[in-house]
Amino acid sequence: MTRLYMSEQHIKLPEGSIEKVTSTLNLGPTHPATHGVMQNILELTGERIVSADQTIGYIHRAFEKIAERRPLAQITTLTDRLNYCSSPLNNMGWHMTCEKLLGVQTPKRVDYLRVIMMELARIADHLICNSIMGVDAGAYTGFLYVMQFRELIYEIYEEVCGARLTTNMGRIGGFERNFTDQAFQKLEKFLAEYPRALKEFENMFQRNRIFMDRTMGVGGISAERALNYGFTGPNLRAAGVDYDVRVHSPYASYQDFNFTIPVGTTGDCYDRWLVREQEMWQSLSILEQAYQKIQSFKGTEAEIYHADIPAYYLPEKKEVYTKMEALIFHFKIIMGETDIPVGEVYHSVEAGNGELGFYLVSDGGRSPYRLHFRRPCFIYYQSFEELVKGSMLSDAIMTMSSLNLIAGEMDA
């Protein structure tokens, strides 16, 4: 009997055998459980996974090449589309990379405003990941419920930069405008309403027998293997390594804040969920602290929302119309004709998924000579086969969603 397979290369025959004994399952590229465009070719005996072969690159958009033509300010839009669940984190990371290259010192108020936006983005990111884990385990309600609170975060984004998903937030040196009173009111509303919802969400899942059975002991990894695989972020911390870029190489004045790094022990899906959950509580605490610090700025100090770097920060429109220098800088920035200094910088931020790094090589032209994104997702997804080998098919789904794989970040 002849059988039809997807293609020649997907047939994996055991050594010395002429008949295929395992079955091939194509999980993805457009499967509801992959939550993004990526493919897994699984070899199964019954429901047990023998091997997994990941294929990525379905939404590769050549950002690194495109960036070689663009002036620094225009690359921010590219970073939006890496991890689109937490765009502000990527935006701020990119701005800080540029500032490092240009040698710009940002005022404290700018740092704290950035911390507010970054922690909101982290909550939005973790919220999605944790609630989607619930969806993949069969609990849709939690996801729908907490979406209301992501909406509150998106409303704050809207108030600050006008956009919701691909935010393109801020500029090199600070923000495009000062935060409005509405933005702070919305932040207050979020800080008041979210903890209760997060607690409810936790009550629903944390000691839920079905959820625990589906996630405990699934997709675990040891600390040594996780480090060797280049894990960062919540997935590394779930394995018990307390590495956090915010603490190890502080940026945006994170050293001014008190927070703890939650760590797990087994590195399995349940620990990843717990670590993300605890990080949301920590983010809430950082938000409270940052908001307090922001409120301590009075008078003209409360008007500061960007660093004084006329060559890179767009002047105000009314100055463009009345002042010669402002007009020149406006023109040069818009046309991207400002030459950047020669140098190489590596800067990283703690993004939703871990260490998001920017390696920027400049030869002194208007745009980077080479820009490389260190995408945490891309690096730890290669461990997937090791994580799921020998486990059940349904465990692969849980592992995938607990790793928070974002195709946009993976493929750049």
């Binding site: 590769h60 090449k65 060797n228 140098g343 790094g357 690096i379 290669q382």
Partner: protein, 156 residues
């Protein structure tokens, strides 16, 4: 071998490409250094550096001492071969595949050196500098959908 501190405070080591594994091994095993975390691995193409056109750049992190280091090796375009770091770091597997995919750098000893983000049929290495991005002001291309130059047909 040479080492210098760049203007942003990061130690940068350069070594001949034959020694890349030796240097990585030393940095990994040395009990006081312990650079055991591979943060990033990527390539850069410098067409003007004759004989050293392709650079492989490693960013290593010693979590014990919380130190970072940048390590570079250069390879000529005619023979773009360096040894793979997959034996030391599992993380290097896909990073090296990505670097191969975009720069054509061959990592000797790599278990599965094939393209990762681009299609396998591709016969060039797109991040090399001989492939400039399309000139945004070109007008010879007839592209009605995106309104770039050409003749935009009037809709009656």
């Amino acid at each position: 071998m040479s080492a210098m501190v760049d203007s942003y405070g990061l130690l940068e080591i350069t070594a001949p490409r034959e020694l890349n594994l030796k240097v990585l091994n030393f940095l990994y095993d040395n009990p006081t250094l312990q650079f055991q975390f591979l943060t990033d691995l990527t390539g850069v193409h410098y067409p003007s550096k004759k004989g050293n056109e392709l650079a492989v750049v490693y960013h290593l992190h010693s979590l014990k001492e919380n130190l970072r280091v940048r390590f570079k090796v250069f390879a000529p375009l005619e023979q773009p071969e360096v040894y793979t770091a997959t034996g030391l770091f599992s993380a290097a597997n896909w990073m090296e595949r990505e670097t191969y995919d975009f720069f054509g750098i061959l990592f000797l000893g790599h278990p599965n050196l094939k393209r990762i983000l681009n299609v396998e049929q591709m016969d060039y290495f797109p991040l090399r500098k001989e492939f400039p991005l399309e000139d945004q002001t070109r007008i010879d291309k007839d592209d009605e959908m995106f309104g770039r130059g050409g003749t935009l047909k009037q809709i009656d």
